[in-house]
Amino acid sequence: MSYLELLKLASPEAIVVITVLGVLTIGLTTGREAAGATVSTAQPTRNASRRSSTRSAALCSFVAVLGLAVAIGAVLMLPRNATLFGGMLVITPLTSLFKIICIALAVFTVLLTTSEKSLRHPGEFLAIVLLATVGLMLLVGSEELLMIFIGLELLGLSLYVMAAFDKSDLRSAEAGLKYFLFGSTSSAFTLFGISLIYGMSGTTGLAAISAKLATTTVQPLLAVGVVMTLVGFAFKIAAAPFHLWAPDAYQGAPVPSAAFIASGSKVASFVVLGKIVLLGFAPVHGSAAWHGMVAGWSPVLAVLAAFSILLGNLVALAQSNVRRLLAYSAVAHGGYTLLGLVAGGRDGFSAALFYTTTYAITLVGAFGVVGFVRRETGGDDLSNFSGLCSRSPLMAGCMAIFMLSLAGIPPLAGFFGKFYLFSAALRAVPNYGLLWLVALALFGSFISLYYYLMVLKFIFVDKWAEAGADHRSLVTDHVLQKSAICLLAAAVLLLGVMPEILAAQILAAIQ
């Protein structure tokens, strides 16, 4: 195995890493003087320095987007199938597709960052976003437990920093700390689980583990290993009862960070979780059917899903902060997505991936609107959203699309996603074994309509109480950010009307 070939197959990751270095350099050389000038000098130079720091931020984002675009090109150039180092780096149509999706989500996160004024060192922030993206790509493109763990850690450490990046905000620090504490504990769980499984099977490659497990009977030690690994991932996807970090992280972190945590990290985690359980743990599938539960990982995931759906939806009812509300709804959506994995098989996996992808797109957009409202009104409580439809009809319309898609209203992506997911789940187990879970999920989405409509009620029905004029004057028009949000809304609508664009791709990619 020559290093040249490794470089060729890992070229997308390499390109993003090089972009990280580039962005860091630009940020250091142009941003620092500006920051120094801000501290030392008086009024006239201040304007100039602000301008130069804006220019530096714009340059950084431009380079970042450029690097990501080149990386997408590199992914497209990859061979269809390749395996390196016994599964450490795997290239299949599935990994390529999800690398592209992760990079695209990162692009949108970068676009949201451009108008975020609270981030004082945009170069460094963007560099960390890109590092997290590398983590996502490694996670998606590996079928080996150690490499997956390294990807998780790279992703996790970048996200902790991103969450705590707003140094002027106490909540951001709190978000970062909570996320870090919970995340590192969950990493410990995962590592422990992996070590047990390694001890049982003597290998860390997923395919080899599967082959080994098929020959052995289910032992307590193996069960502990499987459950530990799943617990670690349950933290990552914020499934109840391991969701406690999510509300604070979503609420406190800077908006782009929260968007990235909610979208990219979740998509990649689901891809990996799906691979681990469906590929690595395939022989200990078990069954979650109502009258025929068989021990294995699928009843564990089914219980996690049921908890998440109930708890996420019920607690979201009581939230008055939109970001917290989105966090609890994220818990519920994690639960829905787990249904696809519980169902298993090609259909279930592709349904789960379709759902989580559309969910990620929706949530990045929703956080974009939250960021817009936050800059305009200085907060992101429900009351800050009141009268948004008269202040900015465009953003209000986009938010309506995002919220209704999350609630599963046709013809938006969330509706088809749910139909696909639930029909796959119902079909997977004979004799409607999973009907209980499907019914629970439908009940959950019934509850969720209430709080999504409450957000829209504030936007469309309530009037903006304070004098909006002085706020308005502060807001500069962020054309780039607005067009990014509109693009996301259009994507949600398009994926709802013609879901086949994505669904067929995913289905074809899963062999």
């Binding site: 209704l404 209203i409 046709p410 013809p411 509706f415 088809f416 139909f419 696909y420 639930f422 029909s423 119902l426 079909r427 409607y432 009907l435 499907v438 019914a439 439908l442 009940f443 989405s445 019934f446 309509l449 209430y450 409509l453 829209l456 009620k457 469309f460 029905v461 013609m498 879901p499 086949e500 669904a503 067929a504 289905l507």
Partner: protein, 497 residues
């Protein structure tokens, strides 16, 4: 051709978002008239033979991964429903003619509801059907919550959640049918033999899901509150078309897919329907808010539809479809009078307050309209209500003679509350406390400077609805000839029915 009703209405809705507001109502009117015209054209040009089966109009693959098709079809039942949608839509726009506040948005939501209804009535593919069915729910929320009156946010939320609650059961039913039969095509599913144990539980789940929207008795409470909270146009649409979505879907999907389940449960449906008829009529008798009276009368009349469906014979079911048409028109007319002609001019819907105004002198045209609407609602021969209800009762006589007796008593109650509302609102004795009123003027609210006599738009809208109920009442064969063959083609009918 008739598929264009959907496209035109959606297109109109989208276009509304981008046009300046001067065009809004004209565009909405044009769109709805185009829809009605297409319906009429199909009504005249489609040979009656073709209407006996659900004949495909459009069929293109849509999401082939899961076997979904964009598949529309037409038979006598759908055509009837498309007609009532068109008529209600046009008159609804006419009755919202002088709306001032957020016009574009209002007509946007309104047209979305209408387009969704057209879609439901025409779609064959179950997924497509459900897309349109759920699509109707959210625009209703905005119509009511933004533009409504009394307790609007509560009413809007209650209505939306009830609809979605029903939708949840429908979702389960559709998934079960899809997973079991492996198809989403209604025509194929109607041939598929579902196992009886499955039908036993899947039918009530699905039927109840639909019946929530049709206002079946224990789950009807959203209807009166929703109607009262809604703006006039909203109540007209709700009572006129949206409630029919539920009963139409119960007939087209639930009963047609699970015939054995239906036969097992049909007598319980009849029980609920009869309770609904009598109970709602009794409640309406005690209401003081005119819109509540009409809201409960809707529940009562929809009880007739459900009773007709439960009879499971050609006559009863055809009567039910005719009643859907008839009630759609009559309810729209009643709400138009109560919400638009009376409330906008007097700012009260309280029957006692209205009794003191002697409105028949002030608003003669409104009084005339209300008399016609009440007569149609009570079931005076010559109006569509009579034709429909008598057919339902004849149908019911064969299956549930007891139900007919109880329903007969219920009809007396219907007559009682309708006449009470009519008398109180228009023909009350002019009280001493009220200022003397001139022709065409209501002097209750001196700060109210709007145009006070009945406008031309309102007159046209009312005439359209009155014409529809009279035409069908005088010559019900017009619709029945098209409905009955389509009903006969369905497989749930009891043998010899």
């Amino acid at each position: 051709m008739i598929a264009w009703t959907i496209y035109i209405t959606f297109g109109g809705a989208l276009l509304l978002l981008f046009l300046p507001r001067v065009f809004a109502r004209w565009l909405a009117l044009l769109t709805t008239i185009a829809g009605l015209a297409l319906g009429l054209a199909a009504f005249i040009h489609t040979p009656v033979v073709d209407l006996a089966h659900f004949t495909t109009i459009v069929r293109v693959p849509w999401i082939s991964v899961l076997g979904m098709e964009y598949h529309l079809a037409l038979d006598g039942i759908s055509l009837t429903m498309v007609m009532v949608t068109g008529i209600s839509a046009v008159s609804t726009v006419l009755f919202s003619w002088d709306l001032e506040h957020r016009q574009n948005e209002f007509f946007f939501w309104l047209l979305l509801v209408v387009a969704g209804c057209y879609g439901v009535f025409l779609s064959v593919n179950l997924f497509l059907f459900f897309v349109f069915y759920e699509l109707v729910i959210v625009p209703k929320y905005f119509l009511i919550a933004i533009f409504g009156s009394t307790n609007k946010e509560y009413g809007a939320m209650k209505l939306t959640l009830y609809s979605f609650f029903g939708g949840m059961f429908v979702f389960i039913g559709i998934l079960v049918a899809y997973v079991t039969a492996g198809s989403l095509d209604l025509n194929q599913l109607a041939q598929f033999q579902f196992p009886p144990q499955l039908q036993w539980w899947a039918f009530p789940v699905m039927f109840l899901g639909f019946a929530v929207l049709a206002g079946i008795w224990p789950l009807h409470t959203w209807a009166p509150t929703g109607h009262v909270a809604a703006p006039t146009a909203g109540s007209m649409l709700l009572a006129g078309i949206v409630m029919k979505l539920g009963s139409y879907a119960a007939l087209r999907v639930a009963m047609n897919l699970f015939p054995q389940g239906f036969q097992l449960w049909s007598k319980w449906i009849a029980v609920l329907a009869v309770i609904g008829i009598v109970y709602a009529a009794a409640v309406a008798l005690r209401q003081s808010d005119l819109k509540f009276v009409i809201g409960y009368s809707s529940v009562s009349h929809m009880g007739f539809v459900l009773l007709g469906l439960a009879t499971a014979n050609v006559l009863g079911v055809s009567g039910a479809v005719l009643q859907m048409f008839s009630h759609g028109v009559i309810a729209a007319l009643l709400f138009a009078v109560a919400g638009r002609m009376i409330y906008r001019r007097t700012h009260t819907r309280d029957l006692d307050a209205l009794a003191g105004m002697n409105l028949s002198h002030a608003l003669p045209f409104a009084a005339f309209t209300f008399v016609i609407a009440s007569a149609a609602s009570i079931g005076i021969p010559g109006f569509s209500g009579f034709a429909a209800e008598i057919i339902i009762l004849i149908g019911a006589w064969k299956t549930y003679p007891v139900a007919v007796w109880i329903t007969g008593a219920g009809m007396v109650l219907v007559a009682a509350f309708t006449l009470r509302a009519l008398k109180q609102s228009f023909f009350g004795e002019a009280g001493s406390s009220v200022v003397r009123m001139q022709e065409g003027r209501v002097a209750l609210d001196p700060d109210w400077n709007e145009q006070q006599s009945i406008t031309a738009a309102e007159k046209i809208g009312a005439c359209l609805l009155m014409f529809a109920t009279l035409a069908v009442g005088v010559y019900p064969k017009l619709l029945l000839d098209r409905i009955m063959p389509a009903v006969e083609a369905m497989r749930f009918l009891k043998s010899g029915g």
